[in-house]
């Protein structure tokens, strides 16, 4: 079953769609090139939300993002959830679908929270099986996102970086690299964020996320309710150097500001991409003219 559209028209920096901005976006405000849609908000109902999304889709290329698939749960995937998301994908034809490396349900109960995974061989296998099930039905490769976490487990057998690499390889899927989450985890768990980026398999990085976090002093929370923090902008520039031409989405979920503010963040991200790309091109020019 093919539900995906050719991803060629997802380029540059886009925005996460928030319903408060639908009318302005439909009027073309902000010159936004593409939108990321939280599939969970549209997969379980009909009526106004879906009609709005169909209108948005007529004007914008979209990608799907999800929070409720619970890829990392030791239990089977929720078939009704998967059916609903795939039905929506058939209808809307996103360029791709992404989900978090996390678990959100157990024992038939949905926790509505991205819960942390222990980095085990067993977890790699569970994730790979679930991702492959989704990919088989989707008719294409999906993206998995590195999650922000505020807890680790004594049982873990490997680092987050090794875990991520093994999941991508075993499941043969792509990475949605959340740059803010890398920064948050580096601060919370005490590792080098740049080294983490350099350790990622560049050929599997297919999208990036940028968002704001809350700084509680001793720890950071991936809250999505504020502008992207300055250190994250710096890390993003490094990510763009390592993974050029990868589409980027700016997310903002809590205390959602005006579209103007979000477009400002989007334009700043575009500026970083342009600057890094120009520096890289100048470097190549310099090399090609070198004696």
């Amino acid at each position: 079953m093919a539900a995906l559209r050719e991803p060629g028209n997802i380029e540059g920096v886009g925005l996460g769609l928030r319903s408060a901005h639908s009318a302005e976006l439909l009027a073309g405000v902000g010159d936004v090139p593409w939108l990321e849609v939280l599939a969970d908000n549209y997969a379980h109902g009909d009526g106004l939300p879906l009609r709005n999304l169909e209108s948005i889709r007529e004007r914008y290329p979209v990608v799907f993002h999800g929070v409720g698939m619970s890829l990392g749960s030791a239990e089977p995937l929720d078939k009704s959830y998967l059916d609903a998301v795939l039905d929506l994908a058939r209808r809307i034809e996103p360029a791709w679908l992404s989900e978090h490396l996390a678990w959100t349900s157990s024992g038939g109960r949905h926790h509505h929270e991205l819960l942390p995974l222990p980095f085990l061989d067993e977890t790699v296998q569970v994730l790979a099986e679930h991702v492959q099930q989704v990919q088989d039905r989707l008719g294409g490769r999906m993206l998995v996102e590195n999650s922000a976490t505020y807890m680790a487990f004594h049982d873990s057998q490997m680092s987050e970086l090794e875990f991520l690499g093994r999941v991508l390889e075993t499941a043969d899927c792509l990475l949605l690299l959340d740059v803010n989450n890398v920064y948050v985890n580096a601060r919370n768990h005490g590792f080098d964020a740049r080294e983490f980026l350099r350790g990622l398999p560049a050929d599997r990085v297919a999208q990036m996320h940028l968002a704001g976090h809350d700084d509680h002093g001793d720890y950071l929370i991936d809250a999505h309710g504020s502008p992207v923090a300055e250190p994250v902008w710096a890390l993003f520039a490094e990510a763009v150097r390592l993974f050029p031409e990868v589409p980027v989405c700016v997310e903002w979920d809590r205390d959602v500001p005006s579209l103007e503010v979000l477009v400002g963040e989007m334009n700043r991200a575009s500026g970083v991409v342009t600057e890094v790309t120009e520096v890289a091109l100048a470097g190549q020019e310099g090399l090609s003219h070198a004696p």
Partner: protein, 277 residues
């Protein structure tokens, strides 16, 4: 090991007391962060799970939250989270059981209208995402069919419709919260009678409206899936109370015609079509 760890952590998320045995058990498996002890790591997730439920319920039931205040609403939200595990990935369905849960809470007996206010707000919430009405039978054909065989046809309410009859004036209270009259000193008349209402979506407009006592039994009959002849009898009964000698099809000058009554339901968008039984 993964399943066992997830079950253990899930149990700890919903424990009322952070010092419980379930929390202590999972704490042994949590490796602290460099700057955060294991207990605080767990507390972050426990707090976040509760906050998600509180926020989702607050979006569905904003007037209920205003009526009881945030502390009480949070307390109800926490109790509900523990008593009614979320069985659906869709956060928008989290509130489906909330009004019935509220109705059973003795500590909320002083706000006896809270459960019905919850039902009203849940109706509005459902109307938002309810499917569009299916294309109806051609009105002329429908009219002909129900005139000749009213016992073989039923009227259809919009998929977005919720009928709510309350012993409390909940729609009046809700309206007072919408136009902020509450902030200007509006007080509920303790002697105010109960209200019957329909919550519905007409096109893209979502609304709650009072239903006159004469229409209420007819709408209830339609909602119950009863045949059109039942609704005609109800409308006729209402009319005959005023004019006992008039026929079913034609009405006396001082009463509401039956077909006019049915027509009014269509015009208001409260009835959207008919189908054979």
């Amino acid at each position: 090991m993964l399943r066992e760890l997830q079950q253990e952590l899930a149990r700890a998320l919903y424990e009322e007391e952070a010092e419980s045995a379930a929390c202590a058990s999972v704490l042994e498996r949590i490796r602290p962060l460099p700057e955060l002890p294991a207990k605080q790591c767990l507390d972050l997730y426990r707090g976040s799970v509760a906050q998600v439920v509180h926020d989702a319920l607050g979006e569905i039931f904003p007037v209920c939250a205003e009526l009881v205040g945030d502390d009480c609403f949070r307390s109800v939200s926490n109790r509900y989270m523990r008593a009614a595990p979320s069985r659906h990935a869709d956060l928008a369905r989290l509130g489906d059981g909330w009004p019935d849960f509220v109705a059973e809470q003795s500590f909320l007996s002083s706000v006896s209208y809270l459960a019905d206010m919850g039902r009203l707000e849940l109706g509005l919430h459902h109307a938002h995402a309810a499917p569009w009405p299916e294309p109806s039978v051609d009105p002329a054909k429908l009219s002909e069919a129900i005139s000749s065989e009213p016992e073989a046809w039923r009227f259809i309410l919009p998929p977005s419709a919720t009928l709510l009859g309350s012993p409390h004036p909940v729609l009046s209270i809700w309206e007072a919260h919408q136009d902020r009259r509450v902030e200007r000193g509006w007080k509920l008349d303790p002697a105010a009678p109960g209200e019957q209402m329909i919550i519905c979506r007409h096109g893209t407009e979502i609304y709650a409206d009072f239903v006159e006592p004469s229409l209420w039994p007819i709408l209830r009959s339609i909602a119950a899936g009863e045949a059109v002849d039942q609704q005609l009898a109800l409308a006729g009964g209402l009319r005959r109370a005023h004019s006992p000698d008039s026929s079913l099809a034609f009405d006396s000058e001082d009463s509401v015609p039956i077909l006019t009554t049915i027509q009014a339901l269509f015009e208001r968008g409260w009835v959207v079509g008919g189908r054979p039984l």
